[in-house]
C-alpha cells in the first residue's frame, strides 16, 4: 500500500496547484533558512575530538589577581613561569605547552624570496595527545624536547607546496635563518574549531603550516603571535619578558580517569597556594581545569550570531509549518467526498490516515527539493550574516543534502498529523448522503 499511497501523493501534487505551491514554498523557504544557519552552527559547535574530549584538559592559573583579571576568571593562557612549573611537575600522563608562531622561510634557490609561514611551538606529546595522523615520519621525542632539537613537522598541505607531496622526512628547511630537519609530515588535520589554540583566536583561522619544538622556539626567541600582559610593558630583553606576568602559553594535559582529574585539580590548587605563600600571588588561589567542550563553551567559540540566527530561522520554519498545517487541512478536507467514497469501498481510518500522511510527505519532499536549491543559493550569500572565517565553513555537503530532505519530509509529516487525523475522522455516511 505504501507505493500506492506514494503514487496518490505525487498525483495529488498536481491537484490544487496553488495550495500545493504555497505549501512547497513555505516548507522550502523554512527548511532552507534553517539549513543555512544550521550549516554554520554545525561547523562551529561540533566536538572537534569526540573520542578524547573528556581526557584532554587545559589548566588555568590566575596570575593577575581580582583587580586585573576579567570577571574573576583566570587568563586563558599561562605565563612562562607558571607554564614551565606545570611542565616540570609532570603531573599528567601526557602534557604539552603550545603557542602560535609566525616565521619566515626561504624556500630555496638563490633568487627566492622569504615566505611567511604559521605554526605552533609544541612539545612532542602534542601529537599523540591530539591524535595527529602522520603521512610520513612521526613527531619528535621527549629527548628532542629536552635537547631543544631543530626538528619540524610539516602539514600535508605545506609539504605539498614545498615538496609536491613527496616524502620530505630527513630534508631540511630554513626558518628565521636557522635550519630545521623535517621529522614528520602530518596527514591533513585541521579540527574545527581549533580547540587547542583559542587564546586570542577564534579557532577558525587559516590552516597550520608546521609544528616545531617549544623548547627550540624559546631558544630561538620566536615570539608568540599573541600575548596579554598587565602592568608595566617595558621589558629589558627576552628573559625579562619571559619573567613578566604576560600570558601566552596554552597548557594541555591528558588525564585518563576522574581520579586523575581530581588529583590534577588538587595539584593546581596546591601550586597556587604555594605561589601565594611565596608572595608571588597576593590573592586566594584561583585555578580552573576544563575539558575540551567546557573550554569551547567558556571561550564562546560558537559565535552568538550563529546561535541567534539558528533560533530565528527555526522560529521562521515553525511559522512556515504552522501555515502548512492550515493549508494541509484545507487541502485534505476539500476531499471529504473522496474520503467518504474510499471509506465506503473498504478503507479503514488507519488507511486514510496513512494515505494522507504519505501525501504530506510528498509535499515535504517537493519542499525539500526547493529548500535544497534555496540552501545552495543561501550558502553562497552567508557572508552577509557572518564573519568571513565563519562564513566559509558553511558548505552544502552530502550530509546537509540528506538532512535537508529528511527535515523537510519529517517536519511536513509532523505538521500533517492533525490534518490527516481530521481526514480520517470524516464520516462516510454524511459525505455520501450530502452528495
Amino acid at each position: 500500500m505504501f507505493a500506492y499511497y506514494l503514487q496518490l501523493g505525487f498525483r495529488s501534487l498536481r491537484r490544487n496547484p496553488v495550495l500545493t505551491a504555497l505549501m512547497v514554498m513555505a516548507i522550502g523557504f523554512g527548511v532552507a533558512a534553517s539549513m543555512i544557519t544550521y550549516s554554520v552552527f554545525r561547523a562551529v559547535s561540533g566536538n572537534p575530538i569526540p573520542n578524547k574530549s573528556v581526557q584532554l584538559y587545559t589548566p588555568q592559573i590566575d596570575g593577575w589577581g581580582p583587580q586585573q583579571n576579567v570577571k574573576g576568571e583566570p587568563a586563558a593562557a599561562l605565563s612562562y613561569t607558571d607554564a614551565m612549573a606545570l611542565m616540570r611537575a609532570h603531573q599528567a600522563s601526557r602534557q604539552t605547552l603550545l603557542y602560535g608562531v609566525n616565521m619566515s622561510m626561504l624556500p630555496g634557490g638563490s633568487h627566492s624570496l622569504p615566505v611567511a609561514v604559521n605554526g605552533y611551538a609544541v612539545y612532542g606529546d602534542f601529537f599523540p595527545m591530539f591524535e595527529v595522523p602522520f603521512l610520513y615520519g612521526s613527531g619528535w621525542s621527549a629527548a628532542d624536547d629536552n635537547g631543544r632539537a631543530a626538528a619540524v613537522v610539516l602539514s600535508e598541505e605545506f609539504n605539498q607546496k614545498l615538496f609536491d607531496g613527496a616524502n620530505s622526512v630527513g630534508r631540511e628547511i630554513t626558518l628565521d635563518g636557522h635550519d630545521y630537519r623535517i621529522v614528520g609530515v602530518a596527514r591533513h588535520w585541521d579540527p574545527k574549531p581549533r580547540f587547542f589554540a583559542l587564546f586570542n583566536r577564534s579557532g577558525f583561522q587559516d590552516p597550520t603550516d608546521l609544528y616545531l619544538p617549544f623548547t627550540r622556539a624559546l631558544d630561538m626567541q620566536v615570539s608568540p603571535t599573541s600575548n596579554s600582559c598587565r602592568g608595566h610593558l617595558n621589558f629589558l630583553g627576552w628573559d625579562d619578558w619571559l619573567r613578566s606576568n604576560c600570558v601566552w602559553a596554552t597548557s594541555w594535559v591528558e588525564l585518563d580517569s576522574t581520579a586523575e582529574v581530581a588529583r590534577y585539580r588538587k595539584f593546581l590548587e596546591d601550586y597556587a597556594k604555594d605561589q601565594q605563600r611565596a608572595g608571588r600571588f597576593a590573592w586566594t588561589p584561583n585555578v580552573r581545569l576544563r575539558d575540551v567542550m567546557q573550554w569551547l563553551d567558556y571561550q564562546k567559540v560558537v559565535p552568538p550570531e550563529s546561535r541567534i540566527s539558528l533560533i530565528v530561522s527555526l522560529g521562521f520554519f515553525a511559522i512556515c509549518l504552522i501555515n502548512t498545517i492550515g493549508l494541509l487541512l484545507a487541502k485534505f478536507l476539500r476531499r471529504a467526498g473522496e474520503i467518504g467514497v474510499r471509506r465506503a469501498l473498504g478503507a479503514s481510518r488507519g488507511e486514510i490516515y496513512a494515505q494522507y500522511l504519505i501525501e504530506a510527505a510528498t509535499v515535504g519532499l517537493a519542499g525539500g527539493v526547493l529548500g535544497l536549491l534555496l540552501t545552495a543559493v543561501g550558502i553562497s550569500g552567508v557572508s552577509l550574516l557572518f564573519r568571513p572565517e565563519i562564513a566559509h565553513l558553511a558548505q552544502l555537503d552530502f550530509s546537509l543534502v540528506g538532512l535537508t530532505l529528511l527535515v523537510a519530509v519529517f517536519a511536513t509529516m509532523a505538521a500533517a498529523f492533525y490534518p490527516a487525523w481530521r481526514a480520517a475522522q470524516v464520516q462516510p455516511a454524511w459525505q455520501l448522503k450530502s452528495n
Partner: protein, 239 residues
C-alpha cells in the same frame, strides 16, 4: 443475508432526541432483489448506510451474512465493507482524479490483491458493463449513464455478496435509467443480493419485493392508513 432486528438509530443533541430508525426489522434473503421505498426523511438512506456499515446504530441487532456487526471495530467493519458489500450511489461518487481503471481498482487495492488479479477483475467488470474501451477515460469524459456503469463495475469488481444501491437511476434520464436497471436485473439473475433504495415506483415495481419505510419503521402497506391516504391522493380515489 441481511437481518436487522428491533434496530434503532437515534441522533441526540443536548435538547432533543431524533429517531431516524425505530424498532426497525428487515430480513433480506440471499439472492433477493429488494426495493426499499418511502417518503423523504423516512429513514431509507439511514437504513442503507447502517446496512453498509458506514454508520453505527443505537440499539437492536444487525446480522450481515451471519455476522453480528454491532461490536466490530473500524478495521473489521472496513474489511467487511470491502469484501462483502458493493455500493452504488445516486451521485456515482467516482473519484474525479482517477481514470476509470483506477477508480475500479480502489476497493481491490484495499483488499491487498495482486496487480495481475486486479487487472483481470477490472477488465472483466468493465466488459460486464460494456465499457472496456473506456478504461483510460476520466469520469468527466463520460456521460452520466456511463459513470453509473463504471460505479456498478467498481461495485462488482470485488465480487460482493450484497449490492446496496441508493437511488441508482436518480441522476439519469429515462433511457439511461432503463439501461442501468436492466444491468442490475442481469446482475441479480446471476445470483447477487441487491437492496435498492428508491423513490421511483416504476423502479420499485421491478424488484422481487418491496419494503416500505415510514417514520423510521418498516410498514405493511396494505395495513397502513398513511399509505392509503397517499395512494388516494395519487390516484384520485377514496380509500
Amino acid at each position: 443475508m441481511l437481518k436487522m432486528t428491533h434496530l434503532a438509530k437515534v441522533y441526540r443533541t443536548e435538547v432533543v432526541e431524533t429517531y431516524a430508525l425505530r424498532d426497525f426489522n428487515i430480513d433480506v434473503k440471499e439472492g433477493e432483489f429488494v426495493a426499499v421505498t418511502g417518503p423523504s426523511g423516512s429513514g431509507k438512506t439511514t437504513f442503507l448506510t447502517i446496512a453498509g456499515l458506514l454508520e453505527t446504530f443505537s440499539g437492536g441487532e444487525y446480522h450481515l451474512d451471519g455476522i453480528e456487526v454491532s461490536n466490530l471495530n473500524d478495521n473489521a467493519r472496513s474489511k467487511i465493507r470491502n469484501e462483502k458489500i458493493g455500493f452504488i450511489f445516486q451521485a456515482f461518487n467516482l473519484i474525479p482524479d482517477l481514470n476509470v481503471f483506477d477508480n475500479i481498482e480502489v476497493p481491490l487495492r484495499y483488499r491487498g490483491m495482486k496487480a495481475a488479479e486486479r487487472k483481470q477483475r477490472i477488465m472483466d467488470s468493465l466488459e460486464r458493463v460494456g465499457l472496456a474501451s473506456r478504461a483510460k477515460h476520466y469520469p468527466a469524459e463520460l456521460s452520466g449513464g456511463q459513470q453509473q456503469r463504471v460505479a456498478i463495475a467498481r461495485a462488482l469488481a470485488g465480487s460482493p455478496r450484497l449490492l446496496l444501491a441508493d437511488e441508482p437511476t436518480g441522476n439519469l434520464d429515462t433511457q439511461m435509467a432503463r439501461s442501468v436497471l436492466e444491468l442490475l436485473e442481469d446482475i441479480h439473475r446471476e445470483g447477487a443480493t441487491i437492496v435498492m433504495v428508491t423513490h421511483d415506483p416504476e423502479l420499485a415495481a421491478r424488484a422481487q419485493r418491496n419494503v416500505h419505510i415510514i417514520d423510521g419503521q418498516v410498514v405493511d402497506l396494505s395495513e397502513d392508513p398513511r399509505f392509503h391516504a397517499v395512494h388516494a391522493e395519487h390516484t384520485g380515489t377514496n380509500a
